[in-house]
């Protein structure tokens, strides 16, 4: 695993995430959210899960980011500026981060290096999806259909 790539990618991801949380102009914050997701997808590639990285780019950036942008445009009355981070939220976030990092650094069993990986091909993921995970697959299908119908019903104009 390439350490230079890891350092650069984590810096990119965390900087973009911080920009998302603190930028005042809404559109800039949304676009830096997209950059954060690209960084996370690249980290997935580094970890050897390329299929998940591609699915993340496809679903999150191709669909969810576009949805968010459309919604910002459709609810436009007070768009433009939003207050960035405030002190209470910042304190809580730093406290959570501190707690998690202390817990991680205390655990000695996670200070390990990556073992050699048998390449995870799409074929193995497909086989796993169709044999061990077929019930979750069908449930996710039903969930997505329900979400689609629910979102449509919520947004449809009421017939007068």
């Amino acid at each position: 695993m390439n350490s230079i790539a890891f350092v650069l990618l984590s810096i990119l991801t965390l900087a973009a995430a911080l920009a998302t949380a603190t930028l005042q102009k809404l559109m800039h914050a949304t676009l830096s959210f997209a950059v954060t997701l690209v960084g996370v997808a690249a980290l997935f590639f580094l970890l050897g899960a390329e299929f998940v990285g591609l699915v993340l780019v496809f679903v999150y950036i191709g669909a969810v980011a576009v949805l968010i942008v459309f919604t910002i445009l459709l609810t436009r009355r007070d768009v433009g500026k939003d207050r960035g981070a405030n002190w209470g939220g910042a304190f809580l976030a730093v406290a959570v981060f501190g707690g998690l990092t202390w817990a991680i650094l205390e655990t000695q069993s996670v200070a390990i290096v990556a073992p050699h990986l048998r390449t995870l091909t799409v074929k193995r993921i497909g086989e796993a999806l169709m044999t061990s995970y077929v019930w979750p697959l069908q449930c996710v299908g039903v969930l997505l259909t329900a979400a689609l119908i629910g979102a449509l019903v919520l947004v449809m104009e009421e017939k007068r």
Binding site: M27, F51, L54, V66, V69, F70, K123
Partner: protein, 408 residues
């Protein structure tokens, strides 16, 4: 002799020296670097592929921009540009110089960062997807395990870039054009991807090299085993082709850039070189989609008959690409523009059910034995769905004899 292990067939007519000339050339260039560490050789290899790719496709873009205008001119019974070089073929040079020396106007209240970044992102997304298409035997620039998924994932970032262009211009026409463009692109992404699904199902792999290898072989040396000659493949090819037209914002689906309606849509506030970048991105997107259509349905770099295999594989690939591009230009010169609601209706009510029918039809073909019986059953499935759709969707139109009203 070509190594038959990837597609299992013998190719007695292929001449290895001409066919693999670019592969051998690249290996020769890399042999100068045997002293360097492994990662330098890897980076050099990728750089060589990228440079070759950019060279080929940017020249093809320049050539196509003048050929399109000449062919459109001939369809409209006039000459195209014919002043600049022999037969007007140096016109791209003149166009390039003109675009470069134009003043770059940015609106005063536009968001400068987003406005600047949008054309770069669109062009980058279009060029990046060219890396996974097999251009000849052993001539794929980058082999990724989820190649087709990479193509669609990188292509879907185009939508966000179109939105950035529209919003960053701070112009109502741009915003409206961008929203229409994104609505159109999202609606047609579904048929685009679902029609690829039968091919992936039958081949069993997402790697474009394997998909091309699965279309090798000829029946009686004459009829190739391309997927376009199966019933589900023909339908899927037509649907993919139309979806590709829409994704590239070409006439008859060029509502986002129709000059008579919305000025230039999301590209209104761009001048000079940035407009040329949008233009470049649209054409390279077109090359990428037609390249993928050739790979998936038309057999990639295989030749149509076995005796013609002495013609190198990359020549066949670009010949098929050019044929599809000619059909694109032909459609642009012939068909009028459709309305945005007609486009959306067509996508959701017709193309989506037909693409699901393709998937079912491919499964039927696969399991009914792939010979005549499978062919007939899969054709039957598609015919049933098509007739049902045409009966259900055509209820509004009543054709009456035409009446004329004259001013009396």
């Amino acid at each position: 002799m070509i190594n038959p292990s990837i597609d299992g067939f013998l190719h007695p007519y292929v001449s290895t020296s001409i066919d693999q000339i670019f592969v051998n050339g690249k290996q020769w260039l890399l042999s100068w670097l045997t002293f360097a560490p492994g990662w330098v050789v890897q980076i050099a290899s990728s750089l060589l592929s990228i440079i070759a790719l950019l060279f080929v496709f940017l020249s093809l873009f320049a050539l196509m921009s003048v050929l399109e205008r000449k062919i459109l001119g001939r369809i409209q019974n006039r000459y195209g540009p014919n002043r600049v070089g022999p037969f007007g073929l140096l016109q791209p040079v003149a166009d390039g110089i003109k675009m470069l020396i134009k003043e770059d106007i940015v609106p005063a209240r536009a968001d400068k960062f987003v406005h600047f970044l949008a054309p770069i992102l669109i062009a980058a997304a279009a060029i990046v997807v060219l890396g996974v298409i097999p251009y000849g035997r052993n001539m794929t620039p980058f082999t990724i395990d989820g190649g087709i998924l990479f193509f669609f994932a990188a292509g879907s970032t185009t939508e966000l870039a179109v939105f950035m262009a529209g919003w960053g211009s701070n112009n109502k026409f741009s915003m409206l054009g961008a929203m229409r463009a994104i609505a159109q692109m999202i609606s047609y992404e579904l048929p685009l991807i679902i029609t690829v699904l039968p091919v992936v199902m039958v081949v069993g792999s997402l790697v474009p090299d394997r998909i091309v290898a699965a279309q090798a072989g000829y029946t009686f040396g004459l009829v190739p085993h391309w997927f376009v000659f199966k019933p589900w493949g023909a339908t899927a090819f037509l649907l993919f082709f139309v979806s590709g037209l829409v994704e590239s914002n070409r006439t008859p689906f060029d509502v986002p850039e129709g000059e008579s309606e919305i000025v230039a849509g999301h590209m209104t506030e761009y001048s000079g070189f940035k407009y040329a970048t949008f233009f470049l991105a649209e054409y390279i997107g077109m090359f990428a989609i037609t390249g993928l259509a050739t790979t998936l349905f038309l057999g990639g770099w295989h030749s149509p008959v076995q005796v013609l295999e002495f013609i190198p594989s990359y020549v066949w690939f670009f010949a098929k690409l050019s044929a599809l591009l000619f059909v694109y230009i032909w459609l642009r010169g012939t068909l009028p523009r459709t309305r945005i609601d007609q486009i959306m209706n067509f996508a959701w009510k017709f193309m989506l059910p037909m693409s699901f029918a393709c998937v079912i039809s491919a499964a039927v073909w696969y399991y009914a034995g792939r010979g005549l019986r499978g062919w007939l059953w899969s054709f039957f499935v598609i015919a049933v769905v098509y007739s049902a759709l045409s009966m259900l969707l055509d209820t509004q139109r009543k054709f009456a004899p035409r009446t004329y009203r004259f001013a009396e």
